[in-house]
Amino acid sequence: MVKAEPETVEMIQMQIGAESEFSWIINLAFFAFIIIFSLYGAKIQMWQWLKQIETGLIELKKMAIESRQTSIDTFKKFGRKEDEVAKDLDRWLDYFTIMPVDLDPAGILKRLDHLLDERRDRFQEFVTDIAPEASQSELQSLENTLEVTQVLGLIFRIVRHFFILGKKTGSQIMIMQIQMQMPDLLRLAKAYFDALDAFSAGKPIGDGIGPLVVTKFAREYGGTAETYVHEISREVGYYPIDVEGRTVYALRATGPGGTVGKPGLAVKKLVDNHKGSIARIITVDAALKLEGEELGRVSEGTGAAIGDLGPEKHAMEQAATDNKIGIEAIVIKEDEAAAVGVMDKKILDAIPEVVERIRTAILKRTKPGDKIILAGIGNTIGIGL
């Protein structure tokens, strides 16, 4: 056996950067660290991402389960046993709507409108079955409760799908996308989860500011629940009022149950009924605020302020365009949590300013004798006529 000379050992130690007797260990550890991270860095990062998704997923699952229980507790007050409600609810949480084919876009809005009507009918039918003793307005609020529970369950199931699929396939891009979207998804889910209390108890939500403004405006000019004309379109009606010599049709969905109705089609119907005499359409709605903007800030612009899937906005724009009617929007800025959560005081405090802006718009841009449509868009839960 050949014994290495002490000089040779020293030389090797110097080659790996050793300055003292033991510092070569540190240098070796350093090289090992570099090698491990260059070869397995991505795997370590994936593991870290998966752990983060898992933490978020647990949170989402908790929200989905709790919202399901809240729904069961709410529904069972209206005439059915808890186990029956739970069984039916679980069946319904998977309910889906297939969007119309868009390869041939001609007539797509009509088809979408039809599907949305059908979906709404099925929801109403289901809620009536599951809560037979509820009143009409309670049924509408229960429908909203069901929808929130469905949304939370859906978010959880979609994230879980990509989490498991990402793990199975080891797809870095899939896992990375979910991990990056997780904070936003959690924020959205939290907003809906917090809103469940509002929907199950029938409290007004931030999104209802449009109809509320319209009613407050109508009341200033003599509009009352008795003068409200019901069902010009599905769950939408209007107060005919006189504002400084102009006839204003102050339109909103019927409350205090939770419904948005079909305000676009109501506007179209009013325009058709008063062919050629509508001078202006004013829409009032809640709009998403930008981060840094104040909650309840009022802004105005041109166009139809309505955030539906398409048919309602289209009906409004088409009616305005065909009849060359000026269409304007006044919006109240809110974030998602405020829009679906219980009405915030700051949003309510915006009402006088919005009412004033509506008055200015009417007096400045129309003349006595004109007919105007004022449409308050939003969910009317907890907002009476």
Binding site: F22, P256, E294, V342, G382, I383
Partner: protein, 120 residues
């Protein structure tokens, strides 16, 4: 995290710091003391900071109902806790305690405390 983990954290931190400085004079084993000290300190810091990232969830603000007298000359206003069945613009059966007129719910809302918006 509890008091015990905080105490342990402080002990680890102090021990780690002591190890870190103890090895300064030793040219041979100093490096081990150095890294050992850092590791023990890191454990101490982990114990001290564990759980601090998750903010304690505040309970949601209570929902209140604002009632006002319909008589324009009467200034009566009452704010009470939300009761099931309350909704905005609901006419109440109870008369105004001040003028005996009718009363209406003018608001159902929450007052959220929000951090001030930074002026940039």
């Amino acid at each position: 995290m509890g008091l015990i983990s905080r105490l342990l954290g402080i002990i680890f931190l102090v021990t780690g710091g002591a190890l870190f400085f103890l090895g300064q004079g030793d040219p041979v084993l100093g490096i081990f003391y150095y890294f050992g000290g850092i590791m023990v300190m890191a454990m101490g810091i982990s114990l001290l900071t564990a759980g601090s990232g998750k903010k304690e969830e505040k309970p949601p603000p209570p929902t209140v109902t604002e009632i006002r007298c319909d008589n324009a000359e009467c200034t009566f206003k009452e704010i009470r806790d939300f009761q099931n069945g309350d909704y905005i613009l609901k006419a109440l059966e109870a008369p105004c305690p001040k003028c005996q007129g009718s009363m209406t719910i003018h608001g159902v809302y929450v007052v959220r405390e929000e951090p001030p918006i930074p002026i940039i």
